[in-house]
Amino acid sequence: MKTAHMTTAKKLKIAIIGSGNIGTDLLIKVMRSEHLTCTLFAGRNFNSTGMKRANALGATISDRGIEAIVNDPSICDLVFDCTSAHAHAQHWAVLDKLGKTVIDMTPAKLGEFCIPAINADQCLASGTRNINMITCGGQSSIPIGYAISRVHADIDYIEVASSIASRSAGPATRYNLDEYIETTQDALQRFSGAKRTKAILILNPAHPPIDMQTTIYAKIAQPDLPAIRASVAEMVETLKKYVPGYQLIVPPTIEGDKVTTTIKVLGAGDYLPQYAGNLDIINCAAIAMAELIAKSARSIESAHSVAAKEA
């Protein structure tokens, strides 16, 4: 009995705010995690599709949004903010005061940019409590840009174009297109060191819906193709550890004055169908970070208890 209680207590308590596509898919992923438990799923409307689903899954739900956490701060250790870039600014002001760690799923870029395959450890070590997951297109394209920059530190220009199924883009994504572009460009520049960056997002209304696909173009003087391919292949393997559906469709290929790489992300099909690889990759990245935080919290805790015994 006591052991069972201990195991549950060790799981990191997660609150999800925002009951849209991202939030609901995260809920399913949290429920499956050995290290995380969802203690609150908060939206604005009990009749929304996401809320109904969360209720059916047995989650603790609230229609008070962030107030649900303000009213009972002990309800969670970590918050996934799945609302919008605009709302996140207000949410962070509140959650910061409450001492919560926040994984920001919006392109608000208030916190530390995080791509687990590149800087998970630095993010943890920095002690930041606001971790920004950039954008779905950023999670899929920046690792490739970074892998290329490991070979060529002086890239002139990187451009990333993502196509996502129209049905996988909810109202907040549509409203935040500009923030998506700006945040992806900024993070791409930060991680690749390229002089100029550009991000393009195309919402594709095709039926059947297309799988998420991203093409990365890099302008490099005299590219070392074998080295680029090796670096990219290594990165793809790292990514697959937390995003099983990540696939290299066209390996780095020289076309005129540029190196072109195309990748595709098949989702796990948790909440939205497989084509919504864009939701899947950013959520997989967020879960990977939350699990690292959970493990690190546990190791600190056990270190403390050892220290206490010794004292």
């Binding site: 451009e159 174009a161 196509s163 129209s166 109202p171 549509r174 409203y175 297109l177 500009d178 572009i181 700006e182 550009k198 393009i200 997002l201 195309i202 919402l203 594709n204 209304p205 095709a206 039926h207 297309i210 799988d211 696909q213 093409t215 173009y217 302008k219 540029k258 072109t260």
Partner: protein, 346 residues
């Protein structure tokens, strides 16, 4: 009283598609002057896919957006300066703010015909800046009249002061245009416009039908200079509207002069209706598919045209390259089966 038609001329925007976005500074100056002299009300300029679209994905523009806006503004006084933007390529901060600064008068904010909600903030921004905003629905043949109206109403609610539907694939027949334009005219309280392409030689007659159904804004380019099979030919439009007694405010002789100037200035000259354009128009499929379809036709030994028609039946849109392979594979399997049957009979 004569019916007034507002002509919007995207020669220096859609025309950029015809030359892979390589229009020169001299061409911008020469055509702006010619259009100004003829009294063209709106001259739309930029990269073929609009402001902020110069990229490795859809082609890099010879001139920067800043250069294009500056030289066009310098050469247009009576004519209003227009731009086209597609959210996802452009942003308010980087592109629209710059265009407001550069003195653009008319902002045409575009989306695929079923994605109007991505234009919300961009239209709002333009209106707040005190400029004119039109909503543009691209590839409009892919949505039913009812859906188009629903999407157009969204744009109207964001502040759009007119709605233009584009026949991007040149797929419409006159009755399709009549049905859609009259649905929009009946359901909206703002002006409605039509932007034609000439894949099936229907661009002018479609524009006439649009006007008869209540459209008051018509797009046309000089010599039909534009993407694929080209646009509605502006000087023909002006001549036909004049004969029909519609008022465009454009001087016929001077727009004919502009056509001569354009012939000298734009190289290669006006696009023509290629066999591929005809197939693309009939199938209602974006002509940009030509290359991947050509490759699949060779790989699977099937007719390129059959692939286009099959793609049309599946409502293919750009970006669905994987569907091309699937369709080609199916066609090849069908062909094998037929040959198999014939073989047995023989």
């Amino acid at each position: 009283m004569a019916k007034k038609i507002l002509i919007s001329d995207p020669t220096l925007r859609d025309g950029n598609h015809a030359v892979r976005h390589q229009l020169s500074r001299e061409s911008f100056i020469a055509y702006c002057k010619a259009a100004e002299a003829a009294g063209v009300p709106i001259v739309e300029v930029g990269h073929g896919n609009g402001l902020g679209a110069s990229s490795l994905l859809v082609g890099e523009c010879r001139l920067s957006d800043d250069e294009i806006l500056a030289i066009s503004r310098q050469n247009l006084t009576r004519s209003r300066l227009g731009i086209h933007v597609i959210p996802g390529f452009c942003t308010i901060k980087h592109d629209l703010a710059k265009a407001v600064e550069a003195g653009v008068d008319v902002f045409r904010i575009a989306s695929h015909c079923t994605e109007a909600d991505i234009t919300d903030r961009h239209i709002g921004y333009v209106r707040e800046a005190g400029k004119e905003a039109f909503g543009v629905l691209m590839m409009s043949h892919m949505a039913s009249p009812a859906i188009l109206l629903e999407e157009a109403k969204k744009m109207e609610s964001y502040g759009a002061e007119a709605i233009i539907i584009m026949d991007s694939a040149g797929a419409y027949f006159p009755e399709d245009v009549t049905e859609r334009i009259s649905t929009l005219v009946d359901g909206l309280s703002i002006p409605v416009g039509f932007h034609g392409h000439n894949n099936l030689g229907m661009a002018v007659i479609n524009s006439v039908h649009a006007v008869n159904a209540g459209a008051t804004i018509i797009d046309g380019t000089i010599r039909g200079f534009g993407a694929g099979a080209g646009n509605t030919q502006l000087e023909v439009l002006v001549a036909v509207f004049e004969r029909m007694g519609f008022e465009t405010g454009i001087d016929l002789y001077k727009i004919l002069d502009a056509a001569d100037i354009a012939e000298k200035e734009f190289n290669p000259v006006a696009p023509s209706i290629s066999p591929l354009s005809i197939v693309s128009g009939l199938a209602g499929v974006f002509s940009g598919f030509a290359k991947p379809v050509g490759r699949a036709a060779v790989d699977y030994n099937v007719d390129l045209r059959d692939i286009f028609f099959a793609l049309g039946k599946r409502n293919a849109v750009a970006g669905q390259e994987s569907l091309i392979i699937e369709v080609a594979r199916d066609l090849a399997a069908e062909k094998d089966a037929q040959q198999g049957t014939t073989g047995k009979k023989g």
